[in-house]
């Protein structure tokens, strides 16, 4: 996807966060979830691995984010905390490679039913639109 207005974003989401926040995963687009965000649901955000984050970028994503529960509400106790450490690791790698670390983010969202899940997708889309396509594109 090379359209700057439709950046390719991969969202790795905790099953609990995603479900609680969206209420209706089947009708996300109708609820305003940006169509340029590809969802990958994980049993817990702590399941995300560094290679998986890097591969998503390598395979063409312009931006990546992980959405998990607030640290103190993680169903698996430490999942969100672990996920954040892994996202921070990749941010650091990006900085060393002169790639904007803002292309990857960790969002912790309340598990109470709300629109946070959709809001962070919109926020990340706007952020990546400003940054432009991945520096790996067209190379």
């Amino acid at each position: 996807m090379n359209d700057v207005n439709q950046p390719d974003i991969v969202a790795f989401c905790c099953h609990y966060t995603a479900y609680a926040c969206s209420q209706d995963l089947q009708n996300l687009l109708r609820l305003g979830f940006p169509k340029n965000v590809r969802l990958e649901i994980l049993p817990c955000s702590g399941r995300i691995s560094i290679p998986r984050l890097l591969k998503a970028f390598e395979q063409g994503a312009d931006g990546i984010y992980v959405a998990g529960c607030w640290e103190d509400t993680c169903h698996n106790i430490r999942g969100s905390k672990i996920a954040k450490k892994r996202v921070d690791y990749v941010k650091n790698i990006f900085a060393q490679l002169n790639i904007e670390p803002e292309r990857i983010e960790m969002y912790m969202i309340s598990r109470e039913p709300n629109r946070g899940f959709i809001e962070v997708a919109k926020e990340m889309t706007e952020r990546i639109k400003k940054l432009g396509p991945s520096p790996l594109k067209g190379k």
Binding site: I50, P51, L54, K55, F57, E58, I93, Q96, L97, N98, I99, P135, L136, K139
Partner: protein, 222 residues
């Protein structure tokens, strides 16, 4: 175990400049345990290098492998049919593995991806610290099992220096004075008399002062 740490990415990128096909070789031994050079770290580093090269418009082909150990002939021999296929081998083993690869494959470029840090322990997940300096002439029987060579900043063998304050070393409030630890431990064991024993001057010839070290066990040789 031997504890290592991955070199800064740009240092590794610099080593591989111009290379098109590189074997990234992990080690399933110590560096795997300390999360520096095992299978997972190989996968991560390979991905990082591909991203960097793709960004620069000069893609690199990475082949990922992890041997059970890189410090044994039998495992390194397994590369003999393929070592020549690569522009270089980037070893994620400790310096021992890098050396042995270079010994065994004289016509293949070999680079280190790690800095070999020390011989130490895993205090907790993500924290390692030094315990042994491999001096080849162990003195732990006289020091309550705590090593003044690896753990004293001055490698003193006859007690603490004036920089020992409140149990800490003068180099940092986070570094324990090992001579304080030795004293406290021997006192607790009722063995303070040990510190009064006179012992011969330490033989440093076993600690690289006598050149590279080697052990030959005739009882084990085939």
């Amino acid at each position: 175990m031997i504890v290592g740490e991955r070199k800064p990415i740009q240092e590794i990128v610099g080593m591989l400049k111009g290379m098109k096909k590189v074997l990234i070789l992990g080690c399933g031994g110590c560096v795997s345990v300390c999360s520096a050079g095992g299978e997972k770290e190989v996968e991560i580093l390979a991905s990082i290098l591909r991203i960097d090269r793709k960004k620069g418009g000069e893609p690199i082909e990475t082949i990922e492998k992890t041997l059970p150990r890189q410090c044994d002939t039998e495992y390194l021999e397994g590369l003999k049919d393929e070592a020549g296929n690569y522009d270089a081998i980037l070893s994620m083993a400790c310096g021992v593995g890098v050396n042995y690869l270079a010994d065994m494959y004289p016509t293949t470029l070999v680079f280190p991806a790690l800095n070999t840090s020390f011989m130490g322990v895993s205090e907790e997940q993500g924290v390692w610290s030094e315990r042994c300096a491999g001096c080849g002439d162990c003195v732990l029987d006289r020091t309550g099992g705590l090593c003044p060579i690896a753990r004293c900043s001055k490698r003193l063998l006859n007690g603490p220096c004036g920089g020992s304050q409140n149990g800490k070393c003068e180099i940092s409030p986070n570094v324990a004075c090992v001579w304080q630890l030795i004293y406290d431990r021997l006192k607790g064991l009722n063995q303070l008399e040990k510190l009064k024993e006179i012992f011969p001057v330490k033989d440093w010839s076993t600690s690289l002062h006598g050149g590279p070290r080697k052990i030959v066990r005739e009882d084990l040789k085939l």
